[in-house]
């Protein structure tokens, strides 16, 4: 009897903990997605009635503007992820291995600082700096390096820079985590055995940091792929992001069915890229997110 009540007790606590999780997952994630999925397979026929069809997906493949944007978004997101990694690794290395221990917390805080303002404000900050009548142009004109202002906004390079800037923290933090667990004496031993900086990086630091690199890359890739604000505000007329296409369908064309189909394509794309990435680096998702 006692054993029975004990078991019951454990089950009750389990239920108490799980209920909010299950509710959250089902109400906010699973249900809307099922609805979106169903919606994406429906179109209005000529008389305005909803019917099952694949035409939303067909449209995506028929119209180059859609799938070109899609490919562009994927390629640029991978590029942004890679650039973020290339910049974040030295930063994380400096914070964990070079800076004096008492400055480490301070430096991490410094990285966090830009995230105390919203993304919108951050992007406007960049715009104030870079636009034709902006601070940098003003400065360059004053010093005589330029004789007429140049438009630095609204091109792909600026947009990528903005995306990298927004993503930095999400790469640096996991990298700090893995680099902290890297024993300094391994680096010194490699150095002692004749390795130069490059081979230490390739043979010791990166292999050790793989779990952190993968988890940071997943986060950065997903955030970049799903980013709307930065590409929209900093990118030019020709640098469409796929999220803008989705937005247009939902809000501008009011075609929810088409929008859901695009949304699902984006979901499939991000899952696919992450799956390929995990396979290539021989990692398991459950291990990486730890």
């Amino acid at each position: 009897m006692k054993a029975f009540s004990g078991k019951l007790h454990i089950q009750w606590t389990l239920v108490c903990f799980l209920t909010p999780v299950v509710l959250w997952l089902s109400l906010l994630i699973v249900l809307p997605h099922i609805d979106l999925l169903l919606m994406s397979f429906r179109t209005e026929d000529d008389s305005g009635r909803l019917m099952w069809s694949l035409s939303n997906y067909m449209l995506f493949f028929r119209e180059p503007i859609y799938w070109l944007t899609f490919v562009r978004t994927a390629v640029y997101s991978i590029l942004v992820t890679f650039l973020t990694f290339v910049i974040a690794l030295p930063v994380a290395f400096y914070i964990t291995k070079v800076a004096a221990p008492r400055f480490q917390g301070f430096l991490t805080l410094l990285l966090l600082l830009p995230f105390w303002v919203s993304e919108l404000v951050r992007v406007y900050g960049w715009m104030i700096l870079l636009r034709e009548s902006g601070v940098i142009n003003h400065f360059l004109l004053k010093t005589g390096i330029l004789d007429r202002p140049v438009e630095m906004l609204y091109n792909d390079v600026t947009m990528i820079m903005g995306l990298v800037y927004t993503s930095m923290l999400f790469m640096v933090v996991p990298l700090i985590g893995v680099l902290e667990s890297l024993d300094d004496s391994l680096i010194e031993a490699a150095y002692d055995l004749g390795a130069n900086m490059w081979s230490i990086l390739i043979k010791i630091i990166i292999p050790h940091a793989v779990p952190g690199i993968v988890s940071g890359s997943i986060v950065v890739f997903m955030l970049t792929l799903g980013n709307y604000l930065t590409p929209n505000l900093m990118g030019g007329k020709n640098s469409l992001w796929f999220t803008e296409q989705i937005y247009n369908q939902f809000i501008a064309s009011f075609n929810w069915n088409q929008g859901s189909a695009f949304g699902f394509l984006l979901l499939v794309l991000s899952s696919l890229v992450i799956w390929v990435g995990l396979k290539l680096t021989n990692q398991k998702l459950s291990k990486v997110v730890k």
């Binding site: 391994l186 010194e188 031993a189 150095y191 043979k203």
Partner: protein
Amino acid sequence: MQIDLSVIDITKKFDEFTAVERVSFEVNQGDFFSILGPSGCGKTTLLRMIAGFTEPTAGTIYIRGNDMAGIAPNKRPVNLIFQQLALFPMMTVEENIAFGLQRRRENKADIRKKVRAILDRVELPGFGEKQIDQISGGQKQRVAIARCLVLNPTVLLLDEPLGALDLKLREQMKVELKKLQAQVGTTFIYITHDQSEALVMSDHVAVMNQGTFEQLDTPQNLYNKPQTPFVARFVGQNNAWSGTVHQGQERYHEIRTDEGLIFRTRAEEQLEPGQRVDLFLRPEAMLIQPDPGLTELNRFDVVVNSILFDGANSQLLVSPLNSRRELIVALPQNRQYDYIDEGDKIELGWDKDSGICFRER
């Protein structure tokens, strides 16, 4: 004989704190040279300066006559075995050992051959494919040594490499390391705070204390003729007395200890009557119930406080009559002294050449 390493007046300061102060020494080719000292005396700092990881504040290091100033660790003909071994966990045993050879861009066939040969040498044949976390502590030790030896360094630096092993394995590795060094003939500089490791393995030992060398000598001389009180205390067990010089002639002096015992003993330095001194006497220097015919001995009576039985290392803890000072006396296990019991009064005697005294400092 060729000199492999020569260190001249080397000093290292960390801000105001001096970790190593004006240390000079030379190591001959093929020598097993140990640096022995208590924790924090600057051993690792000294070794890291030789390996190139730490820049000396002053002084010069020559390896085979070449000044090492400004030469990076990856360009020096020395290799360091770290206190924590620092094997690369992401590589197999073979990849660990091949790492240095690959950095020299040697060809693959040569690398394979050399790795095989060195694995045989450290008695790990067939271990190449194993992962680092699949081998035991003693085997890791040998992989770390192999990883450096395969590069054929002029000098191999070892920073307490046996520190992490358990006692039994340490005893075993001590003998193996000595044998290995004799076979390969590489110059070893070995750091330890364990005096038995230093004495067993080395050709020469430097005793280090607070950043300076107290004495650099053969193990026998360190034990038998310590030149400073620190060496007398640190190397081997010693009983210490303080007292005053009563009268002295040449190298032998009559010392009156603080409990009033009078001993004749040897001194390494000039002493004046009335001078305060410290007298050191090894546990095995004291004879239990010596033959009455030996008239030259210093004799005194003690009470046995306890018997510490430890096989060949058995000892008596005794106190001189009317004194609370405790002395350690070696107790030979030849059954001759089986009659001794706790609380017994026995006579001890020692030869005037087995004690040593220093001016108090």
